[in-house]
């Protein structure tokens, strides 16, 4: 029986606002080549492959067709998970735990710069009967949710602006990040109103990039690398897709997926056990809302924790040391991939200028964006 699964190799292109010089296949090829080199393995030696992609974002009716060549999986077991990278990672984990696969590669990418009308495209994710005729943009729905969250927790737009300032500042020290900046709360609060209380700088800008990860069963992992990064906990959960029926103040999907991951990892006291976290901050308020759902603080106390500096790069529980989606760029299906990249680099001690000293356990969390209530959590460790 396989007992543990580890990440033994990782590769990325880094993340950029536009990538006119390369196709998405070339982005993926670069990330895959680096991941296989990092793991010291040839793609021909890998037992299974997973790509994560959604058709409409790719511009193909069957995006799965175009995955095998650039990741080296021709005539190999290969599948697409139309979901976040973390769901792909969970599938890879399960494949190895069955005992039928020793190594699995998981790929995710964003080439959102190819999409001319992202807002309109995301509108196609809304219920075609009840919601789509209202022509609400995703930001409008997020603005409504933000209003509810701020009301329920007495959090203010100024707190949310502080999230943006922190994350963009963190991103300045991340060479992969596209949107690092040294700004102030005033800059955020005086930026263009989009769907109040959401303002332009509260919203993560989009980025392109690819990440490939190689997973291995315990014995194989020890043979392949010195510091395997173990997958200790995984959780994923979908709450209702119906906008009218969900709890708008709290992120139930994040709470349920975190509970699943904590149970699996044997973590009873998350703030005491988790050293650092990469949390979905596609909108600034989401970082705070998700911290509460992940039980990293008590309900309604995320803003106070942020104000105390506990989530800054020098704090007790650094959150989004990579810069998060606000600083790195929103990567759609690859969102979880950049978070896993950060976890792996920190846990290996390879994070350079942004390295947090003495870290052993990291948490990554994603949300699939408006209008979904789907999220996933992964907990990794270097022990």
């Amino acid at each position: 029986m396989v007992k543990r699964v580890a990440i033994v190799g990782i590769g990325t292109t880094g993340f950029r606002p536009v990538t006119p010089d390369v196709s998405y296949r070339e982005l993926i090829f670069e990330a895959a080549r680096k991941a296989y080199t990092d793991a010291g393995i040839e793609p021909s030696e890998i037992d299974g492959f997973i790509t994560t992609a959604e058709d409409f974002m790719e511009g193909y009716s069957i995006a799965d067709e175009y995955c095998p060549d650039q990741i080296g999986s021709v005539l190999k077991p290969t599948q697409t998970i139309p979901g976040d990278f973390l769901q792909g990672l969970a599938t890879g984990y399960m494949m190895i735990m069955t005992g039928a696969f020793k190594t699995v590669a998981v790929e995710a990418h964003s080439k959102v710069s190819n999409v001319k009308n992202v807002g309109e495209l995301m509108g196609f994710a809304q219920d075609p009967v009840y919601n789509r005729p209202l022509r609400e943009t995703p930001h409008a729905i997020a603005g409504l949710e933000m209003t509810r969250y701020l009301f329920e927790t007495q959090t203010t737009p100024e707190h949310c602006a502080s999230v943006v300032v922190k994350n963009k500042w963190n991103a300045l020290r991340n060479p992969y990040a596209a949107f690092g900046a040294d700004i102030t709360e005033i800059d955020v609060l005086s930026s263009e109103p989009v769907a109040l209380p959401l303002q332009r700088l509260d919203i993560a800008p989009h980025a392109d990039g690819a990440v490939v990860v190689v997973l291995a069963a315990e014995e194989t992992a020890h043979a392949l690398c010195d510091i395997p990064i173990w997958i200790e906990g995984l959780g994923w959960c979908t709450d209702t897709p119906t906008l009218e029926m969900r709890d708008w103040g709290q992120a139930g999907y994040a709470r349920l997926s975190a509970e699943m991951a904590y149970r699996m990892a044997g973590i009873a006291n998350p703030p005491g056990m988790i050293d650092f976290a990469e949390i979905c901050d596609e909108y600034s308020y989401k970082e705070l809302q998700h911290m509460e759902a992940l039980k990293l603080c008590k309900p309604g106390e995320a803003a106070a924790m942020l104000e105390s500096g506990a989530t800054s790069y020098q704090g007790e529980l650094p959150v989004n040391i990579s810069g998060g989606a606000l600083g790195v760029g929103h990567l759609f299906e690859a969102s979880g991939a950049h978070k896993i990249l950060e976890l792996v680099e920190q846990l290996r001690g390879e994070a350079g200028a942004r390295q947090i000293p003495d870290v052993n356990i990291g948490l990554a969390q994603v949300w699939r964006g408006v209008p979904t209530a789907t999220g996933a959590v992964a907990i990794l460790s270097n022990m």
Binding site: E54, I62, P68, G83, P241
Partner: protein, 387 residues
């Protein structure tokens, strides 16, 4: 191999129709409810849910898996979608098998849904954007166009006639007469197929399965739990999947090597050495009639170029030595892409349990196989099941 055994313990399927009044969510709900009822479980018993559904372009809904989540029973649970083009339906139990065999779940509900009719004016339009945007789309190929190329190449390589291939359509539409979910069961003749409208030579209208709406669902359980639920579990003994290069113009279309690699993976896992003897009953994917023959060869159920003769000799008929598509297949029951694959899994499940009613094949089959194929004629998915 020390792997956890996984059984199918329940199944449900909606009627396959041309234009369902129900939404995709409702179709998913019907199939899920039926599957859970069939083994006397409720959603509370289900640990995890997986959803198989093919292109978002059919429904015109971005992130279709998210949209279907409540209908499928995924709310508040670990719920995930998988997608390997036309191979999705037979991949669905494979993804479910990962969930249960890994130990993450004891009971996993596997749902497959397709609602093609939302796509106007015809679901074929969704396939216009499956081709490479730079090298192929400017030529404006259609799906039927590339299958015509493949069918022609297959006929040419092995000296097979259109009449040889038409027998598959006649057989499957006849078999579907006994399937309660069937969309186009028909008693037709080889001449009817040959005289039907030519769409893109050598493909005629009756060589092709219809566009359909429908859903199917199964319940998977770990060994310990399965034995509590039913006296007649059907075990998933082998799984295989494989994808060939996207550059299909560089491949020899006469033989589906991706089906062979997928089948060999499943046979290795199931310990099958001589598939043509050990597999008693098979449901290969038959969206076009020649594909059934093509896939039988890829699955090593016969030698290359031999499948047409077996069909002519009646070996693949429901009362033959090796019944192929006793359900009626995609040609007869209908082809709501992902749901078709799971319909084939369900057919083998029922046949192995001896519960296929008028469709029951003689001779007490003990080992069966379902297969689907998809993407740009490049993806093979295979599941071997035993009772």
């Amino acid at each position: 191999m020390g792997m956890r055994k996984v059984a199918i313990v329940g199944a449900g399927i909606t009627k396959f129709v041309r234009r369902a009044q129900e939404t995709g969510k409702e179709l998913s709900w019907q199939a899920s409810k039926m599957a859970l009822d069939s083994c006397e479980l409720t959603l509370d018993d289900v640990d995890m849910v997986t959803m198989g559904t093919a292109p978002d372009a059919f429904d015109g809904v971005h992130m279709k898996g998210e949209y279907l989540a409540d209908g499928a029973g995924g709310i508040g649970k670990p719920y995930m979608r998988h997608f390997v083009g036309g191979g999705t339906g037979v991949f669905s139990p494979i993804h479910g098998w990962f969930h249960v065999a890994s130990g993450m779940a004891d009971i996993c509900l596997v749902v497959a849904e397709e609602k093609m009719s939302s796509c106007h004016p015809h679901p074929q339009g969704a396939f216009l954007t499956i081709f490479d945007h730079t090298t192929e789309q400017p030529l404006m190929p259609t799906l039927i166009w590339i299958f015509a190329l493949e069918m022609n190449r297959y006929m040419e390589t092995y000296g097979i006639s259109k009449a040889d291939i038409a027998r598959v359509s006649v057989k499957n539409k006849h078999n579907a007469m006994d399937h309660p979910a069937a969309q186009i069961p028909q008693e037709i003749t080889v001449e009817d197929v040959l005289n039907s409208e030519t769409l893109c030579w050598p493909v005629n209208r009756l060589d092709i399965s219809p566009a359909s709406d429908g859903a199917a669902a199964i319940v998977l359980a770990s060994e310990r739990v399965a034995r509590r639920i039913t006296d007649k579990p059907v075990w998933i003994d082998g799984i295989g999947f494989s994808i060939d290069t996207a550059y299909w113009a560089t491949r020899d279309l006469a033989y589906p090597r991706y089906v062979e690699t997928a089948a060999r993976m499943a046979y290795d896992m199931a310990g099958i050495k001589e598939p043509h003897k050990e597999i008693h009953i098979a449901e290969p994917y038959d969206p076009f009639d020649y594909k059934e023959l093509h896939h039988m060869e890829g699955l090593q159920l016969c030698k290359r170029g031999e499948a047409a003769r077996l069909t002519a000799d009646g070996v693949t008929a429901r009362d033959g030595n090796m019944p192929i598509c006793p359900s009626g297949g995609a040609l007869g029951v209908g082809n709501p892409i992902a749901a078709t694959g799971l319909m084939k899994i369900i057919e083998i499940f029922l046949q192995l349990r001896g519960e296929a009613g008028k469709r029951q094949v003689p001779g007490d089959p003990r080992c069966g196989l379902a297969q689907a194929w998809g993407d740009l004629m490049q993806m093979g998915t295979v599941v071997v099941m035993r009772k």
